[in-house]
Symmetry: C3
Subunit: 333 residues, 3 copies
Amino acid sequence: MASLRELADLTGGKVVGNPKLEINGVSEIQSGRSGTITFLSNPKYKKYVNNTAASAIITADKSVLTHFDGVLVDNPQLAFANVLDFFQDKPKIVWGIHQSATISDNTNISENVSIGPNCVIEDGVRIKENTVIGANTVLGRNVVVGTNCTLHSNIHVYHSCTIGNSCIIFSGTVIGSDGFGYVELDGIHHKTPQTGSVIIGDNVDIGANCSIDRGTIGDTFIGSGSKLDNLVHIAHNVKTGKGCLFAACVGIAGSVEIGDYCIFAGQSGVVPHVKIGDRAIFAARSGATKSLPGGKVYAGMPAREIREQNKKDAVLHEIDILKKRISKIENDA
Amino acid sequence: MASLRELADLTGGKVVGNPKLEINGVSEIQSGRSGTITFLSNPKYKKYVNNTAASAIITADKSVLTHFDGVLVDNPQLAFANVLDFFQDKPKIVWGIHQSATISDNTNISENVSIGPNCVIEDGVRIKENTVIGANTVLGRNVVVGTNCTLHSNIHVYHSCTIGNSCIIFSGTVIGSDGFGYVELDGIHHKTPQTGSVIIGDNVDIGANCSIDRGTIGDTFIGSGSKLDNLVHIAHNVKTGKGCLFAACVGIAGSVEIGDYCIFAGQSGVVPHVKIGDRAIFAARSGATKSLPGGKVYAGMPAREIREQNKKDAVLHEIDILKKRISKIENDA
Amino acid sequence: MASLRELADLTGGKVVGNPKLEINGVSEIQSGRSGTITFLSNPKYKKYVNNTAASAIITADKSVLTHFDGVLVDNPQLAFANVLDFFQDKPKIVWGIHQSATISDNTNISENVSIGPNCVIEDGVRIKENTVIGANTVLGRNVVVGTNCTLHSNIHVYHSCTIGNSCIIFSGTVIGSDGFGYVELDGIHHKTPQTGSVIIGDNVDIGANCSIDRGTIGDTFIGSGSKLDNLVHIAHNVKTGKGCLFAACVGIAGSVEIGDYCIFAGQSGVVPHVKIGDRAIFAARSGATKSLPGGKVYAGMPAREIREQNKKDAVLHEIDILKKRISKIENDA
């Protein structure tokens, strides 16, 4: 429960209407519920304003608030994230090590740490304060996990990998499995030992059932502030910059270097040994097959600048026009 | 062991040949074994009929049974599914909670339930009768699992998610992890709290290592009777209709609405915030980049109606013809 | 620590320079460290030779060793794999069964076997000598695991599946889940029982979070010497030949037959019921939509021989030229 005034203070916004209006939760604008606050950011959803049953609205659009209680903010998405956080049901964390966990003698676990049932914490592991390890998670020899991290359930972080501070890793993810390296001789694929590790920066989120391989010699790096969705694959020796976004089902092949603030939409990918510049954006299902400069939007497979790709998709139509022009010439001749 | 008569009764078919013939199992037509029954549905496999060592055959094709014992049925695939079920080796379920499971005090677990080793069942969980939970599976706070479900091993269902009745979830799948939502401000990706949940209907099967994210505000819905293969990703706030099929490696992005009885072949996908009509079919690797009406077959990326897509693939050939026609005109001039 | 002489003996190479030079590890050529040995195979990296701080180099290129200590070998990649193996930090394996594992009475576990915490080993399982099973791994009824295998953590091998000798399976992988088979009748998808199993040959490596489905009637086969990267999906009744390579995120649909020594690059795939010949190579993101002969390189979706595919990609350029030629004819007329 919070008054509109309190929510305005929380979000750095201005109350429009009744500051004492009591709000008991949040709802989507298209399925708003009385007593809750909703938000409007995408203009596509403005059509729902008049019919929503929500009692208040967070928006940057003054015109909406002429007939509605609400909070006027600069960035409604960010404001709404704060309001969602305020109302969300947060479990009480029980600090301590569950009795069913298997903890090696030679570990260094800070005091305010929670380790769930059936976890396995191997020799030399270091877990820093305020970090939560979910059930059935395995941390291999000499793994380091920073402060304020949450590792969920059924995760395996292999030996010698390092997770920074304030990271979130969702269930089923595997970090530090061997890179895919073989040398073929006489029909036998000989395994190349993978002796590097994985180093993950601060404030990195990794979704469910991802895989991030350790480096062959050097390490695989995930830059601070990067966010990975589910089922993302990052191969050995990849180095990503700061603040990159990887949507679901993306695959980045071995030894790729990615700049800062790149965005990879769903099911996109990059072939091995290429370099992607800062702030490159890859559309869904695009595939970079060579090094590409930053600051541009790419689409298609092989990935091209999106304008060129769209032109390619228009070829079918052009062919039909050309056929008609040729027929006309032939008939006129 | 069953007689042909018994298998005919089981499948609602008619014996052709010796009703007392004893059958001890099933085999594929191309590698049939004496004493077993096989089946023929796809005409592509009819060539194997004369050489199969199987002792009997289930088919809708009368001509096959002129020289073969067998069972004549309307739907050989369905009949064969029943026969496979009859012969399959079913483990005896041991009801009860394994001593190594960690069960919170405040749970509501019906009597005929099996909970495997090392499971973690958190506060407020409800598990209904005749449901089996495999080893190392974690059910978060307030999860509800219906009757007659089988959840296999190393699964994590996050807090407050609901699984309907008669669902099967294969190992490694993660349900209810956070949706991929961030608000960027000054180079920082601020996490949007994901406060909704996942609601799965009845008779839903979900393959191995899938991920289904919880909704941001409202819930993610998987419609009753839908079936998901392995490594399928369903993002936050997706709503699917009844009886949809999602083959392996499909990715459905956030807030997509999918009608009833849609089919997504392997590695296909849909971009965020679009709507797919009832009974739309997407070919392998196709990608819907906008809302598309139902009742049609789509292919390609961006997905087009399959006829148009095939025409696009034929463009290469047309170009060669056009080049020749232009050269002829130029030479004639 | 090893002398250059010892490393030359290990790799079957020839010392060039000081045979007593002491080497304490390995490094990449572009970030070489004093005291270590590096290697040069890909000519693209030759530019780093003059500036690397590494103390010695393994190469097949004599000219590099005129001003550098090193080892001259025929196959520098293979030699380097051996050197990496020599220097890599190998954990001491503790043989025996962890007290927290749940082992059925009716199993056959050889003496030199290691079974990690919280493993579940069901009835009838056979594990042969020198095999290591990581934490939280589940082996279903009657599973057989050969000698010298390493199965990592949070793996589920379903009942009756067989793993050959000297296999490595990385964490999170699921083997033997049900194939995706349904028969539709009146809007209901009836599940086809999946009564076959999975048979994995010798020397097969399987990456993290893969899924390999059991066969419907017959079995799913992975040929000896094959290597799978992470997040690979192999559907029911697939049969692969010897020595195949499957890069990350590849999906092979049901009943596909794959010859020996095929290579599938990242995110490629094959539709159901087709046959791929020996030594076929599929480029990244290619998709085989019909049976294709071996010995060729394929690209695109639908997959075509790579030369034809490249020609298709060039069509955009050709169209522009054709437009100009037509305009010229029109203007001349």
